[in-house]
Amino acid sequence: MPKLSNKERMKIQRQAMPEQESAVRRNNFSEVNLGFTEELARMEAERCIQCPKPTCIEGCPVGVKIKDFIALVAEGEYLKAADKIKEDNMLPAICGRVCPQEEQCEAKCVVGKKGESVAIGRLERFVADFERQTVGIREATLKPKSGKKVAIVGSGPAGLGCAGDLIQMGHDVTVFEALHDLGGVLIYGIPEFRLPKDIVKAEVESLKKLGVDFQTNAVIGLTDTVDELMSDGYDAVFIAVGAGLPYFLNIKGENYNGVYSANEFLTRVNLMKAYKFPDYDTPVFHVKGKNVAVFGGGNTAMDAVRTAKRLGAKNAYIIYRRSDAEMPARKEEVHHAKDEGIEFLFLANPLEFLGDSDGWLTSVRLQKMELGEPDTSGRRKPIPIQGSEYILDIDMAVIAIGNGSNPIIQKTTPDLQYTKWGNIVVDENTMRTPKKGVFAGGDIVTGGATVILAMGAGRKAAAAINEFLNSSN
């Protein structure tokens, strides 16, 4: 392509993501987005004006060299582009799919000030998919063995990020995972239609090839404690157990049959493959032809409601106590959900679940809300409207209002420091805990956050662990 002027570049429309038709996809679990073709990717890359001061990078939690990798895409150097991204982001195929780009890099993109920002996330995904599909994830080179051993607790993005760096630095790495499969929320929470499990498996496989040892069915705290790992010869431990304790609404009737936490519903469907029941043995509520309400407005809520729709729900509602604007979910997911026929009931708050005499959920009593002044989070606070209560008939409810911290580590490792919500306290720069040789990062430190932040925390910890190991000969 001839060199374009900035003006010409700004004229190119943002390339749309090819996707499965909404009428088709709401009946299957295959990925919604199909990914850019080479042509679309090159065209999109041409939209980048190669700013002298690329503000996009400021928006990226791990500082991916966005401008440089996009220039490589424009030149058709996709593998070099992949290398460039991987200098800062170990999991681009995943992050390209699930990062909230519209609040991060793309929010800061200069082109976006006047029109639509460069589709950085879609390009990241394209580059990573290109590598995986053409030559496979390429192996990194390893430093000579240090003779040091590190235990990583949890195989979510924080654990994987940490493992990838430490193995390259020459240390022996064992990842302990409580479940029977690897990837954390990436495998049990985020559904196939948004993040195909083969992609997560490919990342795990590439770490295995580098020599990372994965031990499933190991609940640290119970199978082994952190102290036992230390006395078993691990020189350092990185705790990355995520935020795996589902919050409930704490309203009446929450234990009726048919009321699920999002974690349970998504785990049954994704990890245990209940959507393939009876080929797989784990059942889940028979959603077909039923009314389902999901409470919450985040990514988890969107995943749950779209899963319910795919299982055949007649009406699938999102019930959220604030309005459209305050929903924390990725914009793309909300958009997809609407296309798939999800109904959004904003400014509605559940007061009580009602059930029949056999203990099955039949309906929910809701109250209408209005928005008041912004609260500490900067979002406008919902206030109940007196006398606005009404009943909505539902057969199944999914609670997706967030996760607290799982108590197993805290109960068995009392000599760490915890906040009153059970999050582990660490030094922000080194992820170090006050306990010698023990580091922590990801959702267990921050509370439920994002894949990129968790991965970034894992890599920060890897650098600090490396320093710790080298200084403690």
């Binding site: 029977h180 609940v219 028979h286 108590p407």
Partner: protein, 286 residues
Amino acid sequence: MYKIIDAEFIAPNVRKIIIEAPKIAKKRKAGQFVIVRVNDHGERIPLTISDSNLEEGTITLIVQGIGWTTQELNSLVAGDFILDVVGPLGKASHIEKFGTAVSIGGGVGTAIAYPTAVALKQAGNYTISIIGGRSKEYVILENEMNKVCDEVFVTTDDGSYGYPGFVTTKLQELIDAKRKIDFVLAIGPIPMMKAIAEVTRKYKIKTVVSLNPIMVDGTGMCGGCRATVDDKTVFVCVDGPEFDAHKVDFATLERRNRTYREDEKDALQRHSCKSEEAILKAVNEG
């Protein structure tokens, strides 16, 4: 992969399975359980660690084949492998020297009560156990209980062995005979645990039951195992499985356990030809 070292039926449909799991054998305490996934398509089911052998590095499970997964598990023989075994999960039984402790097991509940009875004895309690079964062949672990308990009473619903009647009847007899009872552990079907709780409530005897909700992860991540105790929601897999019998809402537990009843029936029917073959094989091979 976890290897089955030995497996035998000890009552109709109840199989004792010894599995190689050295780490769990070393760590487990009375009252704790494992979650097992038989194969790649399998569901995760909780099973109490009935016993362990440190030298051999094995744990013992006693499994009642009531649905598809338990029957599939019971069709496995020595040398076969189980894909996933994770544990030890849950809190260990609270053990102290109460004085006289009565452990009551109904059906396969006896297998769940057994390790705690052992621990109660080791803590210096005078231990009595009452074990019940539908009829003689359903009574399990009588010999084992005899070895660790000061007194053992067997009851059968049809009177074919031991005392005719329910375990509750026997407990009531002991109470009526003015035997001093300081602690009761009751494990079995929900109606049985509920009935025991009603008996001991009147006499203010501290009573603990082990709850058996449907579980998925067993680590507190899904909340599927929640039960109502003392009007509060608990996650049985991490807060239990043992709770104060006088505070448990048994009705809710019973209802929640029926959530997948239709699917379970379906699964069993669909698999039944397959499983009959497998069970025959297991029976033949001992």
